[in-house]
Assembly symmetry: C2
Homo-oligomer: 376 residues x 2
């Protein structure tokens, strides 16, 4: 069995161990030489070019993704050519376009923040007036890790984005949402096979810094009751109704009045699920491969009571993670390191560490302490 | 950091996930195209050819092994050329030659079966007469998985082997040992860094069938006291006194009169340690990479109370493991599969499965049931 992955980043990289264990051949269509998933790179090309992608697809049994940026045109051509594309273009659309996603989730009756589609500053002003004078404006397409998201308190604060949209031949609009008063962010991942089986991991708590995931605690503390039920119900519904195949990660807000609202969707392994490599019986990378190959899903229980995952970002010194191993590995022998093999740059996600165990305070301390020693 | 591995079998293959996680580049010197470690194969060549191996070594920081068959001549040339060879030739010698191993362990005062070096059937007859009329004869070199081992009850039963030795320009002798009356076999693995740090995993029980490892239970049931202490003490002593670097696996007999005797040594990751991929905080493959790179070793505790590993052998039907996935993965969602990607042949080791959990009976049942469904 051969799985083709479009995109050569760390998510494709972390599929390699899962593929090795399962005896599945992984072929990566990378954007460039020397990327994180270089070891499995079969092709270097432009994923926006239908011909290059079609040719790559000929050598594999199924196509899946490291990111959601492959244009619909390319996805549709793959499907027309009879290629198994998982998730398919109809599902991926909702991970690619936040306006369509919000509309679809609202249509499904799922809990979402108050939102509107706004085409100009006048409409944005109206939304602000109706929602307490503060709002979050999001580009419908292309945003990630906090990019394409802005908190505004006056209608003119998105003028530059409206100006850009006006130049876009496709026209378009921005998504505006209430600034949700949340007590914390959660993430709920599930995997779904084409034949219908869906399985959820425990809901996790995700701590963002500057719009980027910094830390994940699995399971989310104190979320064993209603919050866990609601979260998994939301993710099951989205996976089913949108026909997602592979891993679906749903980012959620837990509000101060104890509601759970859908924030964003990702239809691929997601940073909030990295803890499961050590912490769950089946990691999201193995599960994604099983799901896109329509194989029975693996068990998703926790292997230890608590897992804490901390991202490692490049520090000012530009020192690669590996140079810190003599110190970090010696001081934290129980913590597992995942080094994406990237050139260090300040603020760049270079890897992550995961600690697991029975005592959350101790687990969190170990993981945070080790991660901080990498970021010098 | 680049680690070069000589040999492209499943042990090299299982180093790939560990290398991906640590961000270490793995380059494999494979015997052939399409071997188990094909994904990391950098060179296909003959490991008995010093020039080919020396050239391969130029591109890496350290050389280590998937097997112990690299000739001493080649190993010595690498060392002379300034290559870091881990384990080094002085240590590897004792994993390559069972007579030298027995002599060395006896010199160190370690517990070994009654043994002798025999050059002809007369000497073998003497040993039989002194040891109850039954003995185990072993080729000093080249045996593995039960090959090169024979139980004899009469002096002439090794005549063919003596005849072969007589034709050998190097001369040579056979190792003869008492047939140990053991209640079970154990295996004790440790890892040692060049700078001296040594760390042991729990001692495990290893069940052999037809001289081949079939099943491993970790930790060995009921071996928490004296047996565990003696086993780890033996392995620490061997690692230190022989100057082993990387993983050392010591196969042991637990006799019916409750002594622990050394059976065999392996200076590389070993079948008896596969359970640790899921069952220990640090797998033997990750630990081997850490050790040969002289990095601090990871913690070796168990992640769940019990792990059971069962090897999967090719059955008569020649069906690849992957074709059984719809059945096996559906019925055993908690068991982890390791498929070495080899062409199936009857009796060939194609992979293994590992189950972990709190109840040994349940864990063993799950692992055995899944493995049996692969061997059709």
């Amino acid at each position: 069995m051969r799985v083709g992955v479009i995109g050569g980043g760390q998510l494709a990289r972390m599929m390699i161990p899962a593929a090795v264990n399962l005896g599945v051949e992984l072929r990566v269509f990378a954007e460039d030489e020397g990327m994180a998933a270089d070891l499995a790179a079969a092709v270097v090309g432009d994923y926006r070019d239908p011909d290059e992608v079609l040719q790559f697809a000929e050598g594999v049994d199924v196509i899946t993704f490291d990111h959601e940026h492959v244009p619909q045109l390319v996805l549709r051509k793959l499907v027309e050519a009879g290629v198994a594309v998982r998730p398919g273009p109809d599902a991926l659309l909702y991970a690619q376009d936040k306006l369509l996603m919000r509309q679809k989730l609202a249509d499904l009756g799922l809990p979402v923040p108050v939102w509107a589609r706004v085409e100009n500053s006048f409409e944005l002003g109206e939304f602000l007036a109706e929602n307490g004078g503060t709002a979050v404006v999001k580009a419908a397409r292309g945003g990630y890790d906090g990019k394409g998201v802005r908190v505004v308190r006056a209608a003119h604060e998105a003028d530059d984005w409206f100006a850009t949209l006006a130049e876009d031949a496709n026209g378009g609009a921005l998504l505006v949402e209430e600034l949700v008063d949340f007590q914390r962010e959660l993430a709920q991942s599930v995997a779904r096979r084409p034949s219908g089986q869906i399985l959820a991991w425990p809901v996790v708590e995700s701590v963002q810094r500057d719009g980027v995931c910094a830390e994940v605690i699995a399971p989310a503390p104190g979320a064993l009751g209603k919050v866990a039920d609601v979260s998994s119900d939301i993710a099951y519904t989205i996976a089913e109704k949108l026909g997602v195949t592979g891993v679906l990660a749903v980012e959620l807000f837990e509000t101060t009045d104890e509601r759970v609202l859908v924030n964003e969707l990702a239809m691929r392994p997601h940073n909030s699920g990295h803890w499961g490599i050590e912490g769950s019986t089946t990691s999201q990378f193995e599960q994604h491969l099983r799901a896109v190959l329509d194989l029975p899903l693996g068990a998703t229980g926790v292997r230890e009571p608590w897992s804490v995952m901390i991202n490692v970002f490049g520090g000012a010194s530009g020192v690669p993670m590996i140079e810190r191993y003599p110190l970090t590995l010696a001081e934290h022998p129980t913590v597992k390191v995942h080094n994406y093999g990237k050139e260090p740059r300040p603020g760049r996600k270079l890897g992550h560490v995961t600690a697991t165990g029975a005592d959350l305070d101790e687990v969190a301390y170990e993981a945070r302490a080790m991660a901080s020693k990498f970021e010098v």
